[in-house]
Subunit: 212 residues, 2 copies
DNA sequence: TAGATTGTTAATCGATTAACAATC
DNA sequence: TAGATTGTTAATCGATTAACAATC
């Protein structure tokens, strides 16, 4: 991470994709790759590949290309995937449960350390390897455990109250599956929103307006 | 939908957000709104609001602003949310199940009409109001029913074979939760990708590189 | 050395913002 | 009419692509 003078989000959002493709190449024991070939595989321009990678430093070698393994590791580091993060899940409804059971947090350095739900009936139930805790245990748990990220899988209306508690407990990073606008309330919060319904609407538009 | 000369994806991806905010305003019985006020609520510039909306026609009125209800309906129409779509779910694993049970398809005009899973043990099980079908019933079902969209909730390795079958059955629209690159194989496919792990990686980057 | 391919600068393209005349 | 606010053009900004000298 050398010449880090404000990387644009456009570049950042492409990094996971580079990381995926490089991981694949690495698994196939490909040792080196040129920007041209990588671009062809990823369906982008070679210029963009070189431009993107150069935001972080000269990982390549003229006349040779890039070492797949090294580049993969560099990007992994840039993304912060070598660190360990402890996440808690807020809301053990269907969606939160799916995430807890099915999503490979480990692969990205995350560990789901607790899960909270407002429904008293759910308290004590198992969710994968976790026992569902009551909302009221939030303060105690966060007092005794490091929590790096909260994953919000509760309905929009329930978010604000919950968010205020999480924020006052010092949590600043949120993976937000609700439509509540976290950044508006806490401008220093680090937020990644997943708006599934927005994406389905976009598909809907494409169905009506693309080719066909 | 008047002056539709190629709207950029940047604009399209903002439409669901307009739609959401306008729906809220409408629920609050707000009758009209100016681009300046809407921009303030949505945290964008008034210029962008006017520019965006004008891609589709002059919905506003000088000196007055926009009618909330009308604008909402216009955008709804542009997105294609007034139509009815029949979707099938491919893969009734944890994630697919969550979607089937929890996601409000109806609201966007979608109806989940069938669900398929490769695991014979799952056949016949109930998933919400749907009975899980065997993969082998795909051809028969699609022969007898209109299917507008397939929702892919199967692992990357399983996608290609499945995609080929779906494509040959005439399905061209895909909501893709896997990392398989559909557009590369079928360039005329209409695809919306949801790459959850990419988004978590982006959050990870932000945690390491933003403020703090 | 000759060939390949990067790193980087310059050119182009597209998207956002500003400004203002048109008009309700 | 005067005030407000759009629709739209022009200016700015940022992101992508092209080009090429540096260098392995």
């Amino acid at each position: 991470m050398s010449k880090n003078d404000r990387i644009s989000m456009s570049v950042i959002r492409r990094l996971p994709r580079y990381y995926r493709f490089l991981s694949e190449l690495d698994e196939q024991h490909v040792e080196r790759i040129s920007s041209t070939k990588l671009a062809a595989i990823m369906n982008v321009t070679a210029s963009q590949v070189r431009q993107d990678l150069n935001c972080f430093g000269g990982f390549g070698q003229q006349g040779y290309g890039y070492s797949v393994k090294q580049l993969k590791e560099e990007i992994k580091g840039i993304l912060g995937l070598n660190n360990r993060y402890q996440a808690i899940l807020i809301g053990a409804g269907n969606f939160g449960s799916a995430l807890a059971n099915h999503f490979d947090f480990q692969k990205l350095g995350f560990e789901l350390v607790a899960c909270f739900d407002g429904d008293p009936a759910k308290k004590g139930q198992l969710l994968g390897e976790l026992t569902i805790r009551s909302e009221s245990d939030l303060e105690e748990f966060c007092g005794n455990n490091r929590v790096d990220t909260a994953i919000l899988c509760i309905p929009k209306d329930a978010v604000e109250a919950e968010l205020d508690r999480l924020y006052s407990l010092g949590i600043r990073s949120f993976w937000n599956f609700s439509h509540y606008d976290i950044s508006r309330r806490y401008s220093d919060a680090i937020v990644e929103n997943v708006h599934l319904s927005d994406m389905l609407m976009t598909l809907c538009y494409k169905m009506n307006n693309l080719n066909s």
